[in-house]
């Protein structure tokens, strides 16, 4: 795990996470390690600079570095996040487990192997650490989301991440096992073709 404490978060999420730590400490809550993906992680790790509304939690992690299901989010974390939303005028779901929110979510279907070793950590205080997923895992999630949603801003994000052929192949293989439904594989092949990587289709 790599620490990275000089990263700047988009919008007022820097302030929000700092206050979240303060609220958790005041409430006597345990320490939480959040594994964050999406736009906040893209910004925080300097991969892409774009606006984002939410901090998307894909997993939690205990102090012995074991990933945990973030659904449901622990109540002390939910309570503290609501106070932060109220104090800073954020939307109530500014901190959410959307990507892993249920049986069809990323965590329960399986995260890319070794994701926990590639996290980039930021300490927000005694009660909160945030681990941002690595570019390699972003490529996995973005490819999956772009296929699932037939393009959209996920495709733009994937384009800006400029994956290598090998990275894209690995992501495609993971996405295929991740979603074994009938319609997903043709969608994946179509997307790779549209994305300019049609030559990789026979190798996935």
């Amino acid at each position: 795990m790599r620490p990275l404490n000089d990263i700047k978060l988009p919008g007022n999420f820097e302030e929000a996470l700092h206050l979240l730590n303060g609220r958790l400490a005041l409430d006597g809550a345990p320490r939480y390690n959040l594994v964050v993906c999406g736009g906040t992680a893209l910004n925080a790790t300097g991969l892409i600079s774009r606006t984002t509304r939410n901090v998307d939690i894909v997993a939690l992690m205990d102090d012995s570095e074991v990933l945990l299901d973030p659904a449901p989010l622990p109540q002390p974390l939910v309570d503290a996040a609501l106070v932060v939303a109220e104090d800073l005028g954020l939307s109530k779901d500014w901190l959410n487990n959307g990507p892993s929110s249920g049986d069809g979510g990323l965590f329960r279907l399986g995260l890319p192997g070794g994701i926990e070793k590639r996290l980039v950590w930021k300490s927000c205080g005694e009660n909160l650490r945030v681990g941002f997923i690595h570019r390699f895992d972003q490529i996995h999630f973005k490819l999956y989301a772009a296929v699932d949603q037939s393009g959209g801003y996920h495709a733009d994000d994937l384009h800006m991440l400029a994956p290598t052929e090998n990275e894209l192949l690995e992501a495609a293989r993971w996405a295929k096992t991740h979603d074994p439904s009938e319609g997903f594989l043709p969608g994946l092949k179509w997307f790779l073709g549209e994305f300019g990587y049609g030559h990789l289709v026979p190798r996935i």
Binding site: R23, A25, L26, D87, L88
Partner: protein, 341 residues
Amino acid sequence: MDTSFLEFRAFILDHLLDLIWRQWCALGVSGQTTKEEHRVVDPEALLLLSLTICRYDARLFDEILDWLVANGAFLNVQRLRNLKKRFDFQSQAQLSAISELLMEKSNDPLKWKRLTAPRSPRNPEPLFFLKSGKPIPIPDENAPEFSVYGLLRGPIKLRGHARPFSTKGMPSLLLRLRALLGVNARCELLCLLAAAEEIHPSDVARQAGYSSRTVQNTLAEMARSGIVQVRSGNREKWYCLQSGVLDHLLKPEGSPTPWVNWAPLFRALEMLWIGVIDPKRQNLDPLTRSSELRRLGKEMRPLLAEAGLGRQLEDDRSFRGVEYSAVFIRNIKDILSQLNQ
């Protein structure tokens, strides 16, 4: 610790103690204050606030004990219980301890026994603190009335300087009415009737610290005198005083009786003080402190509104993050300054 927050705490304590000194002195406690109280004092609400705040002024605490020995017969124990329960005042241990003392010193020990709570084996703590927050050193010998409730202080030596409450002036009006009519709801009801053009029983019950049924029944009885008049409309009854009959007693200067709904206001101020001295709220970063002051403001706002001061605490939703600290501090300073005018 942040010096501006320490200054804010000191400002609160100084202003609360000024207000409490002023009100007790107006009722006969021995002491001098720079400003006189002109409003009707609510002795039960004042006692409940004093038992928390005067832990930071041992002299005033003991002057109040002295006053209670001399004038305690005119305190309404049932109303004390009602107000404590309804507003959740935090002074039960102190209240129990002074009741133990008054059981020994008064002619009516059973009356005070009703205020005691079961003795609990809580960890002993000092009763008194310096204004800085440091505990006052505890002597070897403790006052047993307090130590059985986990509060440590030296033996009580009452000076016997407290005077009977004044037979003139607005601050002692409620006590004078009790001396005249007995310790019962009629006294608060007369004050409230004289403070407004007309009153509704449910509003009065909230302000007077009695149950709605007690207030309704008592007002109905008082209306039989002809001095209290009743107006019916839309299934509701409104009560007022017949003009002129009791004005010399209740409105000597011609204007409505200066009644303040002290109980919710004092509970809000107790909440404020307990809130700012809470150990977990010291040494916070500015953002988290602002968040905590916002929580405190949210708890206080309905009580201040009940006392007619709701608008004095600005809507926190208009101020994000750290911005709110300065607003809260300014609002509280204004409220305390206004109360001490």
